[in-house]
């Protein structure tokens, strides 16, 4: 596997060689910022097209086809349109909180994006408590939604925000417990080490049944975490107009839209890193020739392909299952998924303690 650390070290040496260290650090920080922005925008644009095309195909339509070849330029047109829309300032809103909410939501998703390694050495923030840090930052996003709902001076946004808050904090538990069973299996929280341990065999295969159960719990919880699919109650349009972002207009609304798609990528990326081996190729023990071929495919492509596959499954949920009711949703979490996740964690710990893992 190619180590991107070589490239970054080379850039670092080059910069340090011709200027003082603080200036080099500053320039590197700016480069990192630009890279994050680029990744963020490209991913958001890609995901909007991805979702629109998939949703069209699930409904036997073609999706956007007019703007550009095969509708590829449609997303650019959409982004431009949303930029030139007027930002309406409403009376009766809490102006400060109203404007603060998009900052919180976007910032939390940008920080999470910066934590995901795309390949060997291709990572920005690398804490030794990586996965825990991501979970902590993801909880901050809830605040933005609650603020948006509260400050809008609108009953429906308030109800939508409350629903969203209850849903996101509830499903965060089973999400955390499902990821914890993988931490038990790996014995580390550092994402790079987690991925490195999957070189021989991905965690979903290494952990036998408990890992598969954890994966299923994770995918369901992640769907709810991103307010998507059958769990999109916060924006149930037939009862709440559009949920917590009803009163936002123009690019203000666009920020919520962006963050939603980026969160979809982030939860899929975490699933790809924790369960499906991240940027590690698919290996079958014994088949050396097959493994060699798999090693030819670069790491970032493996990571992105797995992430897009999980996103595909989550989008598939959305167009397949009818929306659940709020009491059904909370019952599903508290009466089924959480106890299941707890028991699953113990089973995983027993498996690891007795060495029954693959």
């Amino acid at each position: 596997m190619f180590d991107f650390g070589i490239v970054t070290n080379w850039i670092n040496d080059l910069l340090v060689g011709c200027m003082p260290v603080w200036a080099a650090t500053l320039i590197e920080c700016v480069i990192i910022g630009v890279l994050i922005l680029l990744a963020y925008t490209v991913l958001a644009l890609f995901y909007i097209l991805y979702e629109r095309k998939l949703c069209a195909w699930f409904q036997c339509r073609l999706g956007p086809m007019r703007v550009g070849p095969w509708g590829l330029l449609q997303v650019f047109a959409d982004m431009f349109k949303i930029l030139i829309k007027e930002l309406i300032s409403l009376k009766g809103t809490d102006k400060f909180l109203f404007k603060l909410a998009p900052y919180i939501i976007i910032t939390s998703s940008v920080v999470m994006l910066a934590c995901l390694p795309w390949g060997r050495g291709l990572q920005i923030i690398d804490y030794n408590i990586g996965i825990f840090f991501i979970l902590a930052v993801s909880s901050v996003g809830v605040l933005g939604i609650l603020l948006a709902g509260w400050s809008s001076n609108n009953k429906y946004t308030l109800i939508g925000a409350m629903r969203s808050g209850a849903q996101m904090i509830s499903y965060e538990l089973s999400l955390g417990l499902a990821l914890m069973s993988i931490v038990v299996l790996a014995g580390t929280m550092n994402i790079n080490e987690l991925v490195a341990q999957q070189e021989r065999c991905w965690f979903i295969f290494q952990g036998w049944l408990p890992a598969v159960v954890a994966f299923v719990i994770y995918v369901i919880a992640a769907t709810a975490e991103t307010n998507r699919g059958p769990f999109d109650l916060p924006e149930a349009e037939h009862e709440l107009t559009a949920g917590y972002h009803t009163e936002y207009s123009g690019i203000h609304f666009g920020f919520f839209y962006l963050a939603e798609y980026l969160n979809l990528f982030i939860v899929s990326g975490i699933a790809s890193l924790m369960f499906l081996g991240g940027w590690m190729p698919f290996h079958i023990a014994g088949l050396d020739c097959f493994n060699m071929v798999m090693n030819w495919i670069p790491g970032p492509i493996w990571f992105l392909a797995k992430a897009f596959f999980i996103s595909y499954v989550i989008i598939w949920f959305k167009w397949t299952f009818p929306r659940v009711r709020i009491d059904q949703m909370l019952a599903l979490e508290w009466k089924y998924m959480m106890p299941f996740a707890l028991v699953n964690l113990i089973v995983m710990a027993v498996f690891v303690a007795f060495g029954w893992t693959f």
């Binding site: 920080c29 922005l37 910032t107 940008v110 994006l113 291709l122 914890m180």
Partner: protein, 123 residues
């Protein structure tokens, strides 16, 4: 294995945060520059669902969610406790596993109690 070895993780986290703030700020600035501006009394009113709004919205309202919030607090702190254990589970061995199993049993008992009391029922 950092992207750039000289910069600490804290600085990188700050960079990412500033990038997020910068993204929102820049997009808002562009939108302010190129979007039209007009004012009318009707436009400044809350949209809500299309018909005129009644009464105040920022009120104390009874939500059925606060019990879930309290339960969440309980189990989230538990998750925070369990993560360090999960990391060093292998070196703790069976005795650590037993301790955590007892801890979890008590927690599940708490959940069962809340369930029995009807806290998980939607009202």
């Amino acid at each position: 294995m950092n992207l750039l070895l000289e910069i600490s993780n804290g600085d990188l986290a700050v960079t990412a945060t500033l990038t997020g703030i910068g993204l929102v700020f820049a997009a808002l600035l562009i939108a302010k520059l190129i979007s039209p501006k007009s004012y009318s009394v009707k436009k400044g009113e809350t949209y809500e669902c299309g018909i005129p709004t009644r009464g105040e919205s920022m009120i104390q309202f009874k939500s059925g969610y606060y019990i879930f919030a309290i339960l969440f607090l309980l189990f989230d702190v538990e998750t925070v406790f369990l993560y360090p254990w999960a990391t060093i589970m292998r070196s703790l061995g069976p005795s650590g596993l037993l301790c955590v199993a007892i801890f979890m049993f008590i927690l599940i008992l708490g959940l069962a109690y809340a369930w029995r009391k009807g806290a998980l029922k939607w009202q």
